[in-house]
Amino acid sequence: MKLVIGIVRPEMANDVLEALFRAGIRGLSMSKVQGHGGELQRVETYRGTTVQMGLSEKIRFEIAVSEEYVDTTVQALSEGGRTGEVGDGKIFVLSLDSVVRVRTGEKDDQAVTPVKS
């Protein structure tokens, strides 16, 4: 099993979600992060204080999948999140030692496959 982490633009988050659902990915977690990459920094001014905002808002997806789904997931993330302009984000794939479903205690592949409830 792998843990796929995808960082994308907030305005693309819904497109990514749709792409993931279409690809049959059913479990995922999402959070807001701020990222720095090759994007242009923006300058902001508050009264006499001028600042360079080095970070842009991004959305981070965290998705545990069984091996066979890794490529699909990466593809969904990268196609759903792409605009072609700098700042589109990154995808990271890590190996997962194990997965447990809290509700049932099921382990590993069992736990990343949706169960009918």
Partner: protein, 426 residues
């Protein structure tokens, strides 16, 4: 004869009191958890709708018609029948304005009660509850003290609502909390105010509105109104400082939520007494009123009574303090009506104690009965699971703070609904 100055002030005072209800919504909304924000705010907004209508239809008549010394008015003025430009006796403003001013009190008081049952009561039954409450509880108690009812004729002094507003809301809140029961996480988890800026701003706006509430209760831009107004500045200021001291004694730190609470307590305490006592006595009242309310608000969460936003501690108790205080310190040289014990009129204290006996009892019992009856018709509170999800989503289908990610548009009438299907099978 209508006096333009009196009318100008009463128009403004009425607007101020009406503003207090959304301000209360904000105050209460800040005190609950974020998943119950809108629901809590909506309980106040709903009062602006429901209680207003009940007031115009029958409430005003129940409160302000009928003979002297009764328990309840009649329906002579129902549906605003005959309520027009002609002033009521003793005032120089159109009765229509008098009706609106008094109505704003009913609305606010109904909203106050909601503080006892936030985060768990279902919104539908709540709407029916405030309709009944603002018909059967507030107007009756207002009749006693303001509408020529038995307390008024007995000589009880209540300037701006220690009886029908403060004791009524406080003891109704207690009844409601007991009947509805505690939140499922009460006493097990820390249930904290999610936005104390709203609490402070709400308290600030409530104080602002209270100048109209008390200052307008003389129905004129005259001496008594000015006295009441000034006392509404002085008393809460003293309560605030007293609360700082109590906070310091207790935990070494002055708290902001405490300060907001102090403002309310101070305003409540001066409410019945505002037009009857001298400014210096008002400062004394403000100071000492802090103590019982503080103690109750600190002690109550250790009990099993989840009277969530402490309406009893802040309103009921401080209202009693204010009502009794009049019995001691009323001064005819200031109010032109009556002296208290300290100025030689011991009877006044008796009149005041009468109110303290009957008002809490009626408020508690009538509210309890109303809710009990309602509970036979429909469950009053949300299920444990709904409580866990939060009342905003469950009762209103909304969230207070939405970021928009993960929200898929449902295109009504678009026919394809593809994304929904995806989501549903997902």
């Amino acid at each position: 004869m209508i006096d333009t100055g009196d009318t100008a002030w009463m128009l403004m005072a009425t607007a101020l009191v009406l503003m207090m209800t959304p301000a209360l919504g904000l105050f209460y909304a800040g005190l609950v958890r974020s998943k119950n924000t809108l629901n809590t705010f909506m309980m106040s907004i709903a009062a602006l709708g429901v209680a207003t209508i009940c007031w115009a239809f029958v409430g005003y008549s129940i409160a302000f018609s009928g003979g002297e010394g009764g328990f309840i008015g009649n329906l002579d003025l129902a549906f605003l029948n005959g309520v027009g430009y002609e002033p009521r006796d003793g005032t120089a403003i159109p009765e229509l304005l008098f009706m609106a001013f008094q109505g704003s009190f009913c609305i606010l008081t109904a909203a106050l009660v909601s503080g006892a049952v936030v985060e768990r009561i279902r919104f539908g039954p709540y709407l029916i509850f405030i309709a009944l409450w603002s018909t059967l509880v507030y107007p009756v108690m207002a009749h006693w003290a303001f509408g020529g009812g038995f307390l008024a004729t007995a000589g009880t002094l209540d300037f701006a609502g220690g009886i029908s507003v403060e004791m009524a809301s406080g003891f109704s809140a207690l009844a409601a909390a007991l009947l509805i029961g505690a939140r499922k996480d009460y006493g097990r988890q820390a249930l904290l105010p999610h936005n104390s800026v709203f609490v402070l701003l709400g308290a600030g706006l409530l104080w602002f509105g209270w100048f109209g509430f008390n200052g307008g209760s003389g129905f004129a831009a005259g001496e008594i109104g000015v006295l009441a107004f000034t006392n509404t500045l002085l008393a809460p200021a003293c309560t605030l400082v007293a609360w700082f001291v109590l906070d310091l004694l207790r935990g070494g730190k002055v708290t902001a939520v405490g300060a907001a609470t102090a403002v309310i307590v101070g305003c409540v305490a001066i409410t019945p007494a505002a037009g009857y006592i001298s400014p210096i006595w008002a400062m004394v009242l403000g100071t000492i009123a802090a103590i019982p309310s503080y103690l109750i608000i600190v002690w109550r969460p250790r009990t099993r009574v989840d009277e969530t936003l402490d309406v009893l501690g802040a309103h009921g108790v401080a209202g009693i303090v204010g009502i009794i205080f009049i019995g001691f310190f009323a001064q005819e040289s200031w109010n032109g009506i009556s002296d208290g014990l300290l100025y030689g009129n011991a009877a006044q204290l008796g009149h005041q104690l009468l109110a303290v006996l009957v008002a809490p009892a009626y408020a508690f019992v009538s509210t309890f009965l109303i809710l009990k009856l309602l509970s036979l018709a429909a469950p009053l509170r949300a299920s444990g699971r709904e409580e866990a999800v939060g009342m905003d989503v469950v009762q209103h289908g909304e969230e207070a703070y939405v970021s928009g990610e993960g929200a898929l548009l449902i295109k009504v009438g678009s026919g394809d609904g593809e994304s929904e299907k995806l989501l549903k099978t997902g």
